[in-house]
Symmetry: C2
Subunit: 316 residues, 2 copies
């Protein structure tokens, strides 16, 4: 049985980067071995591993793989950086690895990512009152980070403190990261949960069955605008209408002060075939939630409130 903590590891000798293949969860718990940077780039692009911090860690191991195999480091870094366009963690991890592209360094970055998640979770738990019924979108879990989770990490911490009553899991079309991955993680953690259609969130809010929305982030601009899985912006508008807080839980490695506002974040458009093989389709993978609809951003350094231009600038 594999677990969220088995998300990615490096094996010397081969050498290879070994991923828990998230495309096949929850039905099959199998690993995918990447013996070259090209194979790893394909795995990232095709979402065998996904989630902003997780692909950052995978890229760090990828640069170690390139170094050990004697591949050109510039070409490897460029290919890894371009595997997905929206998250900033790829570039961040590759920048960190540049001066010391060793497996030991990648493992240290991985461990630090997990420590950041535990710190974020501890801060985020302070936002939860007793009996909280939280709604989450996509998978900001151990599978999206280093094994513990950002938004799901916050839910783990709240559950351990006896503050969490229930989690509504948006199934998260088209690739169902909620009903496949987040539900799998919550089941393993013993946290009560139920999957819902993405479009049912509003009705549950209107019925008084949701207390807060908790999500991760793929990139946070300097002003607090946050790119995350398509549907997060929708939830932010719905939460505001129902006077519920939306919390973004993400490490500072997802904060990009070089991006002034959400308007500058490139939004990945994925193949329409993820939605339908029969008709035309439009399939943006992310949307941008304006800072004004975010009640708090939680990083490993604490709970940050608006104006985010100030609170985020102090972090980085």
């Amino acid at each position: 049985m594999l677990e969220p903590t088995d998300i990615v590891r490096y094996e010397e000798g081969g050498p290879k980067v070994v991923l828990l293949d998230q495309r096949r969860l929850p039905d099959e718990e199998v690993e995918l071995e990447c013996g070259t940077v090209a194979e790893l780039v394909t795995a990232i692009r095709e979402l065998a591993i996904r989630g902003a911090p997780a692909i950052g860690i995978a890229a760090a191991y990828g640069l170690a793989l390139a170094a050990e195999r004697g591949e050109d480091l510039d070409a490897a870094a460029a290919a890894l950086a371009e595997a997905r366009p929206t998250a900033v963690n790829l570039a961040w991890a590759l920048g960190e690895m540049r001066d010391d592209p060793t497996p030991a360094h990648a493992r240290r970055l991985h461990e630090e990512e997990v420590e950041r998640c535990r710190a974020m979770a501890a801060h985020a738990a302070e936002l939860f009152g007793p009996g909280t019924r939280a709604l989450t979108h996509c998978n900001a879990g151990g599978l999206a980070t280093g094994g513990y989770g950002s938004a799901v990490g916050a839910l783990r911490a709240a559950w351990e403190r006896g503050l969490l009553a229930h989690v509504w899991v948006d199934e998260t079309r088209p690739l169902l990261q909620g009903s496949r991955l987040t539900a799998w993680e919550l089941e393993a953690a013993g946290i009560p949960h139920a999957v819902i259609a993405d479009s049912a969130a509003a009705a549950l809010m209107a019925g008084g069955e949701v207390d807060c929305v908790v999500t991760g982030a793929d990139r946070i601009a300097a002003n607090g605008d946050t790119a995350n899985k398509i549907g997060t912006y929708s939830l932010s508008v719905l939460a505001a209408y129902h006077r519920l807080p939306l919390y973004v839980i993400a490490p500072t490695s997802s904060v990009d002060l070089a991006t002034a506002t959400g308007a500058e974040i490139p939004i990945e458009e994925r193949a329409g075939a993820e939605l339908t093989s029969r008709f035309p389709a439009r399939n943006p993978a992310f949307d941008v939630t304006p800072a004004g609809l975010i009640a708090a951003i939680v990083t490993e350094h604490g709970v940050h409130r608006a104006p985010y231009a100030d609170s985020l600038a102090m972090l980085v």
Copy 2:
């Protein structure tokens, strides 16, 4: 090749009610024959035919079937009325059929339903400006009515008048009536369209790519509160936030003056297995859009505006 107009028919002699099996669209265009009321009830419950006006017509044919077969009419009417709980059209059609449960009468109700759709569509087209990019949810098409459509009928009429530029089709989880049925109808009609994930509607609105939202209705309460496919309420909040109008297109047979407000409308909870076979799920089939978020309700009698308590009372 079957078309939306082949949605349901009655065959004497057998006798039987023949449905276009909507569960198998768009991949297979096949018919389902119901030789007993029990078979028809199962077909309605399992969504071989769905859509409030369409199941009303199917129930009318069902009562004719019961009469021709010598089945107990009270038992047949009760079974048909209980096949789905939210729409009021089942009870309406059965009430209409009671004094004359003949195939000829059912066919007349069917024809009148199509005429009502054409009248609704003509009224609704007045709401469209040139170059409109409309967003629709679920299938309020020919397949949901008698062959022409309520919301999709409005889109057909706007297209014929040269007022419609594009239709965004919510895929409509969990049963994908948008990406399976509405896209199939729009393709057949030659209307430009693209399927989107339900959760992408908000981002398209924010990007200025949507001019209005057009939906059908499963039941309209006396005050204008409208039950429709889960996700319609979500769209109504999102449309209001982006200052876009949401139009409800439905025949007066969907208006239920005996239901004072949306709070009294029973909401069907369907099996969680429609969402996930692996984890707990919550699967309401409908939600209620408050009258205050509806820009206009269009029936065969015209365009009705708030206060709906007055404008709807004059109709029925």
